[in-house]
Every structure is written in C-alpha cells, then in structure tokens.
Amino acid sequence: MEIDPLPNGSGSAAATPAETAATTTAPSPASNTTTASKLSQLTESLKLEHQFLRVPFEHYRKTIRANQRTVEKEVSAVISSVTDVADSNELSKADAVLNLTSLVCRLQGLKRKLEEGSRTENLQAQRCRARLDHLESMDAENLSEWNNVRLKRILVDYMLRMSYYDTAVKLAESSNIQDLVDIDVFQEAKKVIDALRNQEVGPALAWCIDNKSRLKKSKSKFEFHLRLQEFIELVRAENHMRAILYARKHLAPWGATYMKELQRVTATLAFRSNTECAKYKVLFEPKQWDFLVDQFKQEFCRLHGMTLEPLLNIYLQAGLSALKTPYCYQDDCTKEDPLSQESFQKLALPLPYSKQHHSKLVCYITKELMDTENPPQVLPNGYVYSTKALKEMAEKNNGKITCPRTGLVCNYSDLVKAYIS
C-alpha cells in the first residue's frame, strides 16, 4: 500500500528512498501510472503467447516441406524415367508412347496433389494470420472477453494433451474458437497414442520416420525405445529367433550410442517374460507402454513448438505461487481466495509462498484494499478496519461502532488513523 502523508507534516525523520518514492498521493499521476503499468502488463502477458503463434506455424511449415518434397521427388522420378526411355535401345514406338503417356498421367496426378496441398497451405496460413489478428485485437475495452477466450484456449490445450478430445472439440466449437486452438495438430498425435495404448508401434514408427531429421537433431531416443519394446514383445511371445533377427536389424544401429540400455534389454532373451529379477521384470510390465505414450507426447510437443507441460499447469502453478500465503491455510481465509479451497491448497502444497515488500491491508468488513483513499483506522482494542466500512457503520448506528470480531462497542470519535508504509 502507499504511504500516508505524515500526521504532523514534519517529514524531518528519514524515510527510506522506497517510501519517499511511494509518497505520491495526487490522484492524477497515480492513475496515470496505473494505466501505464496496466499497459506494460498487457504487453508482458502477450509475450507469453509464443506457442499460440508457433504451433500453427510449425504445422504450416511441415505442410510446405511435405509439398516441396513431393514435387521434387515426382519431377525427378519423371525425368529419370524419360532418361531411361531415351537411353533404352530396343524400344518400340508403342512402348515409347505407352511410357510417355503414363508419365503425363503421373504429372497430372502430381498437379492435382499440388493443388490440394496448396489449399491446405492456404488454410494453415490463414490460421497463422487469425492468431496474429487475435493477439492484435486485445485492448483495454475488450479485455475481460479476451481473457475469457484465453482461459478457454488454455483449457482446450490441457484437454488435448490429456487426450480428452471430445471435451476439447465441444469446448472449441461451442465457443467458436476453432482457429485459436490446435485440435487438428493433435489429431495426428491421437492416432499414435491410440495405437500405443493398444500396444501397437506401427503408427509411432511411421511418425518417427516422418520426422526423422528433426528427431535426430534433438537426439531423441523415442524410436530406439519403440524398437526395444517391439523386441520385448517378441521375447514375451517366446519368438526367440525372430527377436534375434529383429535386434540385429533394428537395435544394433543404436548400439554405438546406447549400448548399456541395449544390453539390458537383449539380456531378457535369457530371462523370459516371467523372470522374477526386478531389473528385467519391469521391462515386461504394461506400464512400459504408458512410458512410451508419455515419451511420445513430449517429443510431439517439442516438435510442434509447444511447452512440454500443459499451459494450464504452467499458469496455475504461477498463480498459486503468487497467491499462496500462510493465511490461506487458516479457517478464516475468504471464499473468494482460490486457495481457501482444499483442491487448490493441495495443488499449491509443493509451491513456495509469495513475498511482499510492502504492507497490503485488506479490510475485514468490505474486503477492499485499504490505501490512502480508504485508510485503516484503529479501534481502542487494536482491531483495524477501513474508514469506508467504519463510516458506513457509524452513519447507520448514530456514531456507534461495533467490532465485528470482538463485539466491542465504541464511538466513531474514539478511532485513530494508523500510518502504515
């Protein structure tokens, strides 16, 4: 809270520089600074929206790359076919016509594919723009509506990451924010996750191949772990010969980097799936598949420019740290404080308490902040309430004040103002 002017006006005693700076009591500069700080706060909060722009862009970039690759591959295939035809020596006219016609068809197919691809690109570019426009649309007037939408975006993000797709889609559609959330990006993830939950690695492996270069760049072990799991399944099925062949083909290439892990898993050949040895037993447990799902989610988020944690968790944790005080865990914590609720208290348990450099006093009666405009007043029993609340009480009761916490009755004239910096 801001410091009050000193009671006797003689500010001869030293106030620390911080307090002197805080002694701005004139209302107009104060409100100017609040709008200015409000504005800088808005800017700061916009800067948190990295993922909001990055994810659709990564999606867009992926489509562009895929389209590029298709053209390149097809055109070079056609040209090399032409070269083959031209270089072959005993080709009949009919064969030549047949060959060339099929190439023309192939190119027409490519053209259709390109048109389709460029439509997708257009849609995704539009989405990127819609997000930029949405960020730009935030201003002081529509703030509460904008914040509402932000909360919904954060919730959809949470649901998509938790694989609550139906709820995510429902929320996005009912709020008409489909362009502002990444449901389509997660459709791709859903296929892989569903398969992993059914203990199938196929789609996950296909995804790894699709994203080979980027996974390699981030030194991902995900594909290796998928291969290990497939190997374990062969051992479980007592398919030892195939397991060995599989290891030679798919595991050996990873040996140079991950020898220890490789050795541990191949050792299961000797132990079988009913082993009691804890080190190997765990490899056969179904929760290994859950690990794969988790690992996939992490890789997927990284690749799409998302935070690894749901946005909801990040914001919630920051908010709880900022709100957490020792008082929250007492019975008289106001209901309006999220931390008065058991569920929020539990979530906040491992988080640090907030810190204050200056007193912040809230009136017990009105729950409003006590400041220069509404200064704190002290009853003879040492209980403190806001001037606003006490004045109102006095007006209603012929100048009498009743302390709501102790029942003490006194006159309004018995009160003294406290000066708290």
Partner: protein, 384 residues
C-alpha cells in the same frame, strides 16, 4: 509489442503461395514437353524409323535436363526455406520462447485439476461440457456442486426473461439464512417486480402488489418503502418521477449479480470461478517469475527448493485476499509471534523492531519516521 513486424515477416513467408504456383508451372512445363514429344511420335507417318524415335526421345531428355526443372525447383525452395527459418527466430525474439522455465516439476494431481475444471464449467452453466469432461476423464461426479449450480443456473436463466418465480422460490426457502447475512434480496426482488407493474401503467395492479408484497417490508425499510409507493402517483408519466434510479436500465443485471453473489456464498462457493482467478493471477505473475528463473538459471536446485519466493510478484487489487503487514524497518512479514504494533505517533512497526529500538523495552526511543519518542509499553498490538 511490435506485432506489425511479425505480421510483415509472416507475409514474407506466405509469399510462398506464389512460389507454389511457380512449382506448379514447372510441373506443367515438364508435362508439356513430354506431350509435345508424344505428339511428334504419334503424328509422324508410319513407319517411324527407330532412329527418328530415338532422336525425339533424346531431344526430350536433353530438354528436360538442360532447361533444368529440378534446378528451378531447388531455387524456389531455397528462397522459401530462408523465410521459413527466419520467422520462428523472430517469434523467439519477440515472445518468451519457453514459458515453462519457471515450472516446478512437481506432481500436479490431474484428478484434482479435472474436478476443478468440471466445477468451473458447471458454475458457468455449461453442464454438458462438465459432464463430458467427467466422463471422458473417468472422474467421479461431484453431485453436490453440480446440483447447486444447476439450481443457480435455472434461476439466472429465468431472470434473463424477467421471470422472478424461481428466484423468489429460492429466496423464500432460504429466508432465515439470508436474513442472518443482512441480505435485502427479497425486498429488491419485489421492488423489481413492482416497478415492472408500475411501468405497465396499471395503478390498481401496482397498489395491489404494494399492499401484498411490499407492505411486510415497511417497518424494516421505511424509506425504501415510501419511495416505492410514491411511484404509483407517477404511473403513466414516469418520465417525471423523481425516483428515476428505480428504473435504471441496469437494474436487472444488478439484481442478477447480487443474487449470484449471495447464492454462491450461501452454498459455500466463491462468487468468481476460482480457476479463472488463479489463472488470471498466474498470467500476471508469470512474467516476473520467468525473469527470476532466468536470473537463477545457474542455481536450479535452489530455485526448486525455495520455500518463499525471493521477490514479490505484484498482483492487482483483485487478488489481494489477506492483510499482510510488512515492517518498514526490518522488512519482515508480520506473524503471530511478531505482530504489528501501533506507536503513540500512529506509525506502525513490528514487535521485534520495537524490541530492538527500545533495547528490549529498557528505554524509550525515537520513531524512525517522525520526531516523536515512544516506549515499548506505549505500543499496542494491531489486528488486521
């Protein structure tokens, strides 16, 4: 924030659409060359000598390899790739590239989070969504909260079409409890209804309503009662009624808000969604937390073990739920053991600071903020 620069940068990327047209042109061109060769082969009169066939095909092969469609495609892609890699770098610079930097990797029980979200939906009347989440996540249903909010939602929906029936039913059923909190909702409800009747223009109806429903409030709220009854005089010419505030256009919204507040407090719920409040606080706090995490990047362990944040996260007034006293001398936060004390000059310090200044209450001391003298015995404890 320079969103414009980012938009421009994106437009440069999206120029790609032109590039993709160009690559389509390349494909067309290749097709065209092949078709021309085909036409030549087919239109040449039979019998086409193997040499002629060979030369047509060789010509085609040379054309495709020298006009360099592949080369063209490569050029297009190069141009494209530069822009594609520039844009994310710009985003990294303009935005906070990793907002999870300050995140503590603690177990965040998602069952609790799911329950919180479901109640958040119920509170907004989004029962479908809440149920959908509960089903999909396989969480147990919180029937109590759901039914509370269902009741509230029905009351509020009725209010939207100016139907006060469900509200009145609820107020009557909870009259005792509402009285205890000093609520005047019932009077306010009848006031709303009465003013509707007054505005419809029937003096007799208005009088009848006043007699039946307003009269019981006359003893407790005399002023208000008189103010209402006098409006009957102005039926038909309400423009000149001195109590225009009774017809304020926001009166229905005001009533709705007050009812929502009292409903929530009566069923032990907060009036605002705690999830919205916590997230809004998080959005205000996160920028500072991220800066702090950056500064402490080298001391990750310390950061994770911290029991108190080292710096304050300045939140708006709306997030201030507790009185926190910080001693201006020691900067310590007030507590039961170390409470705030009022000095005779009306400045406030914490007990420990006063003990220090008074050398354990052995002598009087000068207030650090004004010239007055005080002794420890003159100081008294404050309760906020």
């Amino acid at each position: 924030m320079e969103l414009n620069t980012i938009k421009d940068a994106f437009d440069r990327v999206a120029k790609r659409q032109k590039l993709s047209c160009k690559s389509q042109e390349v494909v067309e061109q290749v097709g065209h060359e092949i078709e021309q060769a085909l036409a030549k082969i087919e239109t040449t009169n039979d019998p086409l000598s193997p040499g002629d066939l060979k030369s047509i095909l060789t010509e085609l092969k040379l054309k495709l390899n020298t006009s360099g469609p592949l080369h063209q495609l490569e050029g297009l892609q190069k141009e494209n790739n530069t822009n594609l890699s520039k844009y994310p770098k710009l985003l990294d610079k303009a935005f906070n590239p990793d907002i999870s930097k300050a995140y503590r990797n603690v177990d965040f029980d998602f069952h609790i989070v799911n329950q919180i979200i479901a109640s958040h939906f119920y509170r907004q009347g989004l029962f479908d969504l809440g149920d959908c989440l509960i089903n999909e996540a396989g969480e147990p249903e919180d029937i109590v909260i759901r039914s509370h909010f269902l009741e509230m939602y029905q009351i509020l929906e009725a209010l939207k079409v100016k139907n006060l029936e469900p509200a009145l039913k609820w107020i009557t059923a909870n009259r005792e409890k509402l009285m205890q909190t000093g609520s005047s909702l019932e009077l306010k409800l009848h006031r709303l209804q009465f003013m509707e009747i007054v505005q419809k223009g029937s003096k007799a109806d208005a009088l009848k309503y006043a007699r039946t429903y307003l009269a019981p409030f006359a003893s407790l709220h005399m002023n208000e009662f008189l103010k209402l009854v006098v409006c009957i005089v102005w039926v038909g010419k309400l423009d000149s009624c001195p109590h225009a505030e009774l017809m304020a256009p926001t009166r229905w919204e005001d009533f709705t808000e007050e009812l929502t507040q009292q409903f929530c407090s009566l069923v032990g719920q907060s009036c605002h969604s705690p999830l919205s409040v916590a997230i809004a606080a998080g959005i205000e706090a996160l920028p500072t937390l991220l800066k702090l995490a950056n500064v402490m990047a080298a001391k990750k362990q310390e950061w994770l073990a911290m029991k108190h944040l080292p710096v304050p996260l300045e939140l708006g007034k709306e997030f201030q739920f507790h009185s926190i006293f910080v001693c201006p001398v020691s900067r310590d936060q007030g507590s039961e053991e170390n409470p705030p004390m009022l000095m005779p000059c009306l400045h406030v310090l914490c007990k420990q600071s006063i003990m220090k200044l008074s050398k354990s209450s052995s002598r009087s001391f000068k207030c650090p903020y004004c010239p007055s003298e005080a002794s420890a015995g003159q100081c008294r404890q404050l309760h906020f």
